[in-house]
Symmetry: C2
Subunit: 918 residues, 2 copies
Amino acid sequence: MEVSVMANKKKAKAKKSRYVYFFGDGKADGKAVMKNLLGGKGANLAEMTNMGIPVPAGFTISTEVCNYYYKNGKKYPSELKKDVLSALTRVEGVMKAKFGDSANPLLVSVRSGARVSMPGMMDTVLNLGLNDVTVRGLVSQTKNERFSYDAYRRFVQMFGDVVLGLKPKGKDEHDPFEIIMDKIKKEKGIKLDIELTTEDLKRLVRLYKEEIKNKTGKVFPEDPYEQLWAAIGAVFESWNNERAITYRRINKIPEEWGTAVNVQSMVFGNMGDDSGTGVAFTRDPASGEKEFYGEYLLNAQGEDVVAGIRTPQPIEDLKKHLAKPYGELLKIYKKLEKHYREMQDMEFTIQKGKLWMLQTRNGKRTGLAAIKIAVDMVEEGLISTDEALRRIEPEQLNQLLRPIFDINGKKSAIKEGRLLTKGLNAGPGAACGRVVFNAVDAEEWAKRGEKVVLVRIETSPEDISGMHAAVGILTARGGMTSHAALVARQMGKVCVAGCGTLEIDYSKRQMSVKGVAIKEGDYISIDGTTGEVINGRVETKPSEILQVLLEKKLDPKKSEMYKLFDKLMKWADKKRVLKIRTNADQGDQASVALAFGAEGIGLCRTEHMFFGEGKIEAMREMILADDAEGRKKALNKLLPIQKNDFAGIFRVMKGLPVTIRTLDPPLHEFLPHEESEIKKMADFMGISPGKVKSKIEYLKELNPMLGLRGCRLGILYPEITAMQARAIFEAACQVQKEGIKVLPEIMIPLVGHVNELKQQASVVRRTAEEVMGKVGQKIKYTVGTMIELPRAALTADEVAVVAEFFSFGTNDLTQTTYGLSRDDAGKFLYYYYEKAILKEDPFQTIDQDGVGQLMQIGVKKGRTTRKDLKIGICGEHGGESKSVEFCNKIGLNYVSCSPFRVPIARLAAAQAVAKANK
Amino acid sequence: MEVSVMANKKKAKAKKSRYVYFFGDGKADGKAVMKNLLGGKGANLAEMTNMGIPVPAGFTISTEVCNYYYKNGKKYPSELKKDVLSALTRVEGVMKAKFGDSANPLLVSVRSGARVSMPGMMDTVLNLGLNDVTVRGLVSQTKNERFSYDAYRRFVQMFGDVVLGLKPKGKDEHDPFEIIMDKIKKEKGIKLDIELTTEDLKRLVRLYKEEIKNKTGKVFPEDPYEQLWAAIGAVFESWNNERAITYRRINKIPEEWGTAVNVQSMVFGNMGDDSGTGVAFTRDPASGEKEFYGEYLLNAQGEDVVAGIRTPQPIEDLKKHLAKPYGELLKIYKKLEKHYREMQDMEFTIQKGKLWMLQTRNGKRTGLAAIKIAVDMVEEGLISTDEALRRIEPEQLNQLLRPIFDINGKKSAIKEGRLLTKGLNAGPGAACGRVVFNAVDAEEWAKRGEKVVLVRIETSPEDISGMHAAVGILTARGGMTSHAALVARQMGKVCVAGCGTLEIDYSKRQMSVKGVAIKEGDYISIDGTTGEVINGRVETKPSEILQVLLEKKLDPKKSEMYKLFDKLMKWADKKRVLKIRTNADQGDQASVALAFGAEGIGLCRTEHMFFGEGKIEAMREMILADDAEGRKKALNKLLPIQKNDFAGIFRVMKGLPVTIRTLDPPLHEFLPHEESEIKKMADFMGISPGKVKSKIEYLKELNPMLGLRGCRLGILYPEITAMQARAIFEAACQVQKEGIKVLPEIMIPLVGHVNELKQQASVVRRTAEEVMGKVGQKIKYTVGTMIELPRAALTADEVAVVAEFFSFGTNDLTQTTYGLSRDDAGKFLYYYYEKAILKEDPFQTIDQDGVGQLMQIGVKKGRTTRKDLKIGICGEHGGESKSVEFCNKIGLNYVSCSPFRVPIARLAAAQAVAKANK
């Protein structure tokens, strides 16, 4: 009976707190696992409260209310009002203060809090509850009139900006309150806020309220409850402000998640020298070292730390000033890390000697730190290797492969005061070079062997070739998704973007930062991993991993970084099911990939072998030939070249599988298009330019992507396929004779109908038999096909009758499934992301619903015909972690990617298994 | 006990005759339904035998042997030899003659016989069994030495040609035996074969045998058994000769069907004036009239009828010469037609007064005859309406819609001896015009209002525009699949091709037929339905159907043709489940389609409305606008034009559904590309040509098919969709106010992701609400989408959440599923058909395995979301009979096709049901 009453009570309580979750005084309705409902901040505040950690009391309005709000014409559930008021009463009880009380007023903050952190994207209101009456209560409580009116003027400004919408929208607008503040400072001939007197602050409050009246026509609400509801509404509204929408789009956060709202008692770090505020990490977020790391400011509010006007102190120094709260902080951070089994990023405030924790969350970290922390935590017994594999974003491995600064060089540069500024870490890695201010110069200087850093206010498509020529890119404007940032990441260039403090004068060919002028040709060094911009030279060197693996200049035992990498890769290799291959056309690329752990070549594009001096001419001769005889004559010139290339690859790969794709691109790609080039080619071939032109004209296609290419070439001109097969098998026989194993897999591209494959496979097999018979060698080989057209996937059961293996060509499969030309889509796809019509670029991440569905059909049907059909992927998706996870899920045998992405693919493949196991 | 012994005997017999099926003396192992096994000829010989009709005894070697032969390295099943010999013995018994006997030798023919007739494609050997010994037996049996040696020399020639491979392969080669014959004739100064003496024939036999020795190195086999096996092998071989392969490809006959071989006792129609041979039809194959129709030759062999050297007599005349066998023939033809319930095409031979039937099969016929016969047979109670619907090839209806000759005009022209010659009936219909000999003249003459017939030796792609300008096309060379024939059928042009007797002299601008010269500018008349070429003018007129339905000049009661058509269409409409709609962009097209029985518009392309004076300018202004405001301004000019067009269509359609597709083609299609046109446009708009050019440059795409088109336009420029929606709903409201019902269905093209549709649908709905609200009218309407990208079909369940209907755009769906640009594929697809990589043009007939599979996925998934989702097809496949059958099978609601194909679609839709019911 007792039990059932308890259960009923619990139910009743659970029902009651459906929308509002209280926390405070060691008890909370929520807990850490309720992130979806309470947001990250709210869930962790509840968790800390339950752990007995001092957290100012408050309550969280759940994300369900956000969804309700947007689904119901911006109305709240009817129960909400009562629930909020009742939670507020509980807060008053715990904090022993009363909301709106003239003697002892409770002040609160109102903050957003989504399932994942969206730093700075949504709105916050602090010091809420102040008005002309309660401010006097605050004075009497704190015995500090200046502090109280400072808090009041901050509140009015914040309320005006955030709730009443006076916050500037464009870059060219100014905050109306800042304008007033500046005017008063000017009048009084002062510079710092701190120089304002209490009277100044009181005047500001008045002026701010007048400004609000003038700008909005509304009177500033003195009623704290009115303030509260307005602030809650503003935070919900901010879920759909433009910045938040953009951030969600970039970070692929669904709109449906919504935000929670946290209403929490204010504590103040600016109540004197026994107060302070700071942020801390349980481990170093840059290096991952296991040491308490953080910064604080005495007598300051959180926003002061962020604003960067005063320089914060390292956290160790807090011990000297406030030993007791520091001691508590040490205990708390250890407790939190152990509890969460993850590196924590914490915010705290000390109010008159009392430590309050305001936030804890998993800390962001660099790639290096992510790996170091994960590996260390495994060794400390905190987490399993599976957990470690799950935690590292495979893309972060990229950072370990980029050039780095000499660590001592950078330290001393900073000591020498050469750190100019910090921008956005838009393209990881380190670069050092001479400054140029336009793309043309970048190209010219680079041509004469100079390393240059291209500095632009912002970049545009015309700068592409200059960006390509530069070792690094630095821009004054633009965020993480600006043109510069996007292109740099795509190119793998070091990039620091959006350096607001940079003043660039193109006409003077000069830039300046805080008075330091840097002219064209001067050296700067930029760290794209941290965003730092350093005056003068800092030596860079290849990543330690590369020094060990590729250059073999560094002893693996001497590199901590390599050891971490190696440990992680070994765990990954043990875990993963997918094999990892590489896309490589030449022996040297294959060597790099092997060093990175590739287990074969998944795509060797033979057409790349046709470019370059002495090859392109023969190729053109072949294209211009009038008949099969003429083509054969030209192909005979190409034969030894291809054979040589294949032999080189076979020697490197030593019996690992090498998938060679027969000629794929439309022939016109091999012909010149400039008048002068046409003339040169015609002269070289001893024919008229007219003949060249008419061939070019003949080969012109309306939609080359859907034209005469892929196996269609080999079907029309079987002599091309025959030559390629001959080159492959002659090379294979030769290398095998040298005592090196070979395993060629010949892959026919762009097959739509099994008969196409049948015809091409027969050319390959016939040639193979002929070559092997002649040379007297037996080569083990297979013939398979790309699955890159919807029809091939849909009829995979028929295709597999002939194909001994499949390889998904997801680039073309995406183009045809979506009816979207990758080359042309740039003009409108950006708009699709902007309007959230598409959430992800289907050319980067496999579109699982469409393209992925076809892949699944292909796998299923292919394996109904051949139970153990080997299936891989060689599109660019093969090196993208989410796509790798998908490939694992649908049962592919391998993924193939570019050499430098092999480690990423290895980790992603392991993660896929570790995630599936979870 | 008795029964079971019988059964066992039957089994044993069935087993024994697995490969060889005897027929003769009223008993046959096979029957008509065994066509797959025995081929058409063999099955019908067996059937006739069983019916008691006089058929020379023989046996059929089944098609299974053909397949065995090709699958087993050209070897026969081991039982075959014994089976053939035992069947041969039975034949000897029935025919009372012995194979290879010196006194009374049995002679046989060895003929091919596939499941469907492949006239002249495979080989035949007659008079087999003759050698220097048996020929004397034939002499003594027939008492006719000349006849016997003529048979012998024919046999040696045929054996040399067919079995030993001396038959000329190219057009420029001559038959070596004909050369010898010509030499002898020349020596003797004679012209006709009949003038050769017995001695000449004996000498020819010797010379032929020597020629065989010289040419092949082999001695002519005197052993009849050796002859027989060699001939059987040659017939099987001929299944895979080049002509046969091409014929199979064109007629879509699977290679796996194989051919049977018929070995049959010879009977001779050339044993004197009591002998003869002929062909006959149970009804007139041209008009379908119910009258016995045929031709015969006295004292002749079958090949003489075909060769056309002697002119055959009409069948009625046989009564005068050979009344008894004629009487038998009349009985037999009636018996056969009744038995087969189909019009029969028969071959017969009369040997010394005795009638032998050599073949019966369903007769080929014109479209008109097909309909007439089917309708008549229903009325005679011979067949059901279902059977009638199944029998008419829907494409044949086309013939009823083409212009026709005035029947009396043509009759009198032929009476006057103006029939010049006959060629292949490559493009049905009648044409009369002045002769021109090249495409340029054709265009020029046509421009000044002349009707011209383009006469060419053969046509090539350069002649296209001339062919387009001509009312008819006549060629001297090329078959039913020549360039001229293909293009003409595609264009719907009247064409007579491959008129071998035509001599054309381009330099003299003159052609001549059998000495009659026709100069440029002279009138000729050609009948593409019969292949006749007539000198001078014969009046043409529109088909009677069009005169009734469209021109309303002919009383439906007065046209036999219309009555047939109408009867058939009524049966079809009763039978079919699919609705038939039309693709029409203008009111007049819609009217035509309605007259032909359309039940709605399935595709109204709005872009066609933008071409033409006064429209294209506003469209261009829209494209050149710099912003949404500029676009809206230009769109406002287009609004009234579109509205007017829509109103016109709504008025015609009177409440039938009208599916309107929003703007689809890439914008650059609306811009000029010639320098002078650009200048004109720039002047008109008062801007610089540079601006026009830079816009053209900007809109240029690498793969426009996969670029900025379809809904992507509307998404980027929602104002375009809004304008179109406004035009539709303003027009709808206006017409509804006039008291005419309207039912618009707005269709969004090129949707790949449901979010695209969601966005466009919301623009349409918003605009609809706005217009309806303003006008105060309520319009019933739906918003749906084209399914023309693989992704749309694959995610049809999601798309159907928004789409209220689907319409398969199979043109684009085929392009994307196959990765094949229809515009570019011409350069290589021909090769695909030639090499049998593809059997059918996927742009003409739905590729059921690939594209069709996607359609099935789309239908299934779409209807899981919306159980009663209306689904149609508006690609060009919607008017092609096989595709219509497929659409019926997968449960579509309607097909939509061009107005003139509506009757074809009606019949095809009915046929689909009738076939499924069978």
